[in-house]
């Protein structure tokens, strides 16, 4: 099919199948569907939209059809995204399964694991969370201590059929709402730090798993502490080889970095800051604030173009590579600055926290939420370390 044909067909299908309600801007948390066993659809339209898109594999347009994907080329996926944007269609499904585990499964999973997990991710049946950080092992992720010990075998075999997992994770996003976890565990305590780590998948309903939400300064609790107390995990849930989990972790972190760095800029209809200022203040914008906004816009625009260029170069095979740390670092710093300026523009209104009006507190909460951007998914300091080491190849970095 030519791109033109594909575009016409897609447009027609979306027109016919996307419920009007799903073309409204996202207003609150529940408007974004995350799927999973515990998900309560906010409306029939949300459910229908997910089902219809999943049936075409368009929740994950570029994944192979065999695993529940749409089998689209990169250009076709771009067209689909453009056509969805044109009618304001919401994304039918958001999840860490799609953004993070899926790509890793496609690269490192065995056939059985792919067949088992990818379709459920694509259909929004299973919601995943990520078990990486631990108390005491924040930026120094590889210092993790959660252990997974193979049960002694029954009789003569080399070991049992299950790992027994013990330990504690922190910053597990939405662990309390997730069904399964992909988890970094230490399988070989004697091996050097980075080599004793394995990548394990398991059900959060397994006996011995418990979670406790962490309340953030923004008042939200998107993260949990997660405890593992003699959790038995079948041996076949090991992804990749035992002791090679760090490679998968690094691959995934790269994805996460790009996601967080680009997050705000990928948002549809992001208003330029000067528009917000004009709306809020009219023409009487204080000189120093105007200057701050202009300087921010210069950085934000140049960063947006860099995101574009990195993608275009990758497509053209010209990329310099290892740029996810740059995008993560710079993108989150720009976003933090943007939130700071939105607060300044709105003056005392921005400080409202609790009140009767609908959106009261939203501005301050977004501002506070953005502070975490430069910490989660590898701090800005870690990204700068990575650039110094991998890109600039500075000594001892």
């Amino acid at each position: 099919m030519t791109d033109t044909d594909f575009r016409a067909e897609t447009r027609a299908w979306l027109e016919a199948n996307c419920p009007p309600e799903m073309r409204q801007p996202v207003e609150s948390d529940g408007d974004v569907c995350w799927g999973g066993r515990k998900w309560r659809f906010k409306s029939d339209a949300q459910k229908i939209w997910l089902e219809r898109m999943a049936a075409k594999g368009w929740t994950v347009p570029e994944w192979p059809k065999a695993y529940g994907g749409g089998g689209l080329s990169r250009d076709e996926a771009k067209i689909l995204a453009q056509e969805m944007q044109a009618i304001g269609a919401r994304s039918p499904l958001s999840s860490f399964g799609i953004w993070m585990l899926g790509p890793a499964l496609l690269k490192y999973g065995n056939e059985a694991q792919k067949c088992e997990h990818l379709p459920k991710i694509a259909r929004g049946e299973i919601r995943w969370c990520q078990g990486y950080s631990e108390p005491g092992a924040g930026s120094d992720l590889a210092a993790l201590r959660t252990s997974a010990v193979l049960e002694p075998g029954s009789g003569s075999g080399p070991g049992g059929d299950h790992y027994v997992v013990n330990g504690q994770k922190v910053w597990t996003s939405y662990a309390d709402r997730a069904d399964w976890i992909f988890c970094l565990v230490r399988t070989d305590p004697a091996a050097p730090k980075h080599l004793g780590i394995s990548f394990l998948l398991f059900d959060m309903e397994s006996e011995g798993v418990s979670t406790s939400p962490i309340k953030l300064i923004s008042g939200y609790s998107p993260f949990c502490q997660t405890f593992f107390d003699d959790v038995r995990v079948p041996k076949e849930n090991l992804m990749g080889e035992a002791g090679k989990g760090w490679d998968i972790a690094k691959y995934l972190l790269t994805h996460e970095r790009e996601m967080i760095g680009g997050m705000d800029f990928a948002a549809t209809g992001r208003d330029a800051l000067h528009q917000l200022a004009k709306t809020a203040l009219g023409d009487a914008i204080p000189g120093l604030l105007r200057a701050d906004i202009v300087r921010h816009e210069i950085d934000a625009l140049a960063f947006g173009l860099t995101m574009e260029r990195v993608k275009d170069e990758a497509k053209a095979g010209q990329g310099v590579g290892a740029l996810s740390s740059m995008l993560k670092y710079y993108g989150t710093e720009v976003n933090k600055q943007r939130q700071e300026l939105i607060m300044a523009i709105n003056g005392s209104d921005s400080l409202l926290w609790e009140g009767d009006t609908k959106h009261e507190g939203d501005m301050a909460k977004s501002w506070l939420r953005s502070r975490a951007n430069s910490i989660e998914g590898g701090t800005s300091e870690v990204q700068l370390n990575i650039i110094a080491k991998r890109v600039l190849q500075l000594p001892g970095a």
């Binding site: 300064i217 120093l288 607060m343 003056g347 921005s350 400080l351 301050a364 506070l368 502070r371």
Partner: protein, 379 residues
């Protein structure tokens, strides 16, 4: 005047530092927030602040105050900043007390100031009408009516308005070419007909009410100072408040910084104390310098107010602008260097960041004061 504290001021500093650390530490703020306290502050603490002479620091001795002046007030508010202590100190003891002590009639002073110094009466200032501080933009009208005036308009961001026994309201009694002319200050009882006060809880767990005046009738005796000449009084009070806010932000910055340096000495990652990482060391060292600069600018502003210097507004804007930037930097760096734990509500550092933002916004942010500074320099 040398840029150091005199003996009296050092005594105030020592007593304020000790008092707020023991009587109103951050845990009190947390408790009052979590229980959604009706007043938003502890009246027992406020009474003790009166006993210590803090509530009357800016009130002359003849009216029951301590008459210690603005450097002393700033030192108290710096300690408040270090501990994030909640009280109507800024609204009543600094802003309103300054207006009444300077512009009040003998009757008003005698009736109000002793009670304010004794923490028996809270007076709040209703000045702002827009989200961004622009004190001369007063659209609230005061029309001559009966033996006084009838007030109509809406005031926002009235600090501690929800607990105020009296309000000082800026309203326009006449139009003039220059926006600053024609503004009059009124004492308004919030229980009068036509006054409604709605509490707004802010990001820093402090309160700033919206006050709606709907034809509220006040007496001629409720005018503070001269009719149409209220702006000068208002600016004097705002400058006192701004300098104290600079001092509070200095306290916020210094305490966040101290907490961060402690954390850098304890937290280990990659097998060493994170304080041994040079990139963090350099940022901490830079921050140290910035806090020192904020301290100098703040002290100079407070001294200039006490000395009644013509250049006081200049130094006040310098202090508010610089301390605002430094508090923002210090608290953001604090959260960043703490990493994940700094983002949790359980840990105190986030409260400092919230207060830094709110205090920076109050009565003009760095952009406002930078522009004011430039204007004052004829630029």
């Amino acid at each position: 005047m040398p840029l150091v504290l005199n003996d009296e001021q050092r005594m105030v500093k020592d007593s304020a530092d000790g008092f707020f650390a023991s009587e109103a530490p951050v845990s009190q703020l947390r408790k009052l927030r979590d229980e959604k306290h009706a007043d938003g502050f502890d009246r027992g603490l406020w009474a003790k602040m009166a006993e210590m002479g803090f509530a009357g620091v800016a009130i002359p001795e003849q009216f029951g105050g301590a008459g210690l002046g603005m450097v002393a007030a700033g030192l108290i508010q710096e300690a408040i900043g270090r501990n994030l202590s909640l009280s109507p100190f800024l609204s009543s003891a600094v802003l309103s007390a300054t207006i009444l002590a300077r512009g009040g009639s003998d009757e008003q002073k005698a009736a109000l100031l002793p009670k304010m110094a004794a923490a028996e009466l809270i007076v709040a200032l209703a000045c702002d009408e827009a989200a961004r501080h622009t004190p001369a933009h007063v659209a609230t009208r005061a029309e001559a009516a009966g033996n006084g005036f009838r007030l109509s308009g809406t005031k926002t961001f009235v600090l501690d308005g929800h607990v105020a026994d009296k309000l000082i309201v800026a309203a326009r009694t006449s139009d003039a070419e220059d926006e600053a002319v024609g503004i009059t200050l009124f004492l308004v009882d919030p229980k009068l007909a036509g006054v409604s006060v709605s509490r707004k809880i802010l990001v820093d767990s402090r309160n700033a009410a919206i006050v709606v005046l709907d034809g509220c009738q006040v007496d001629g005796a409720d005018v503070i100072g001269e009719v149409g000449g209220g702006y000068t009084l208002l600016e004097a009070a705002l400058d006192a408040g701004r300098a104290c806010l600079a001092a509070e932000m200095l306290g916020v910055a210094a305490q966040s910084f101290a907490t961060t340096v402690d954390y850098l000495k304890q937290r280990e990652q990659f097998g060493q104390k994170i304080g041994s990482f040079q990139a963090l060391q350099h940022r901490a060292a830079h921050l140290f310098c910035e806090v020192e600069l904020a301290r100098s600018a703040t002290l100079r502003a407070l001294q200039a107010l006490d000395a009644g210097e013509d250049r006081a507004p200049f130094y006040v804007s310098l202090a508010k602008a610089k301390a605002g930037e430094v508090a923002k930097l210090a608290t953001n760096e604090a959260v960043q260097m703490h990493g994940g734990i700094g983002m949790t509500d359980d840990y105190d550092i986030g409260f400092f960041m919230k207060r830094a933002r709110a205090a920076g916004e109050t009565f003009g942010d760095t952009a406002f004061h930078g522009d004011r500074l430039a204007t004052l320099m004829g630029y």
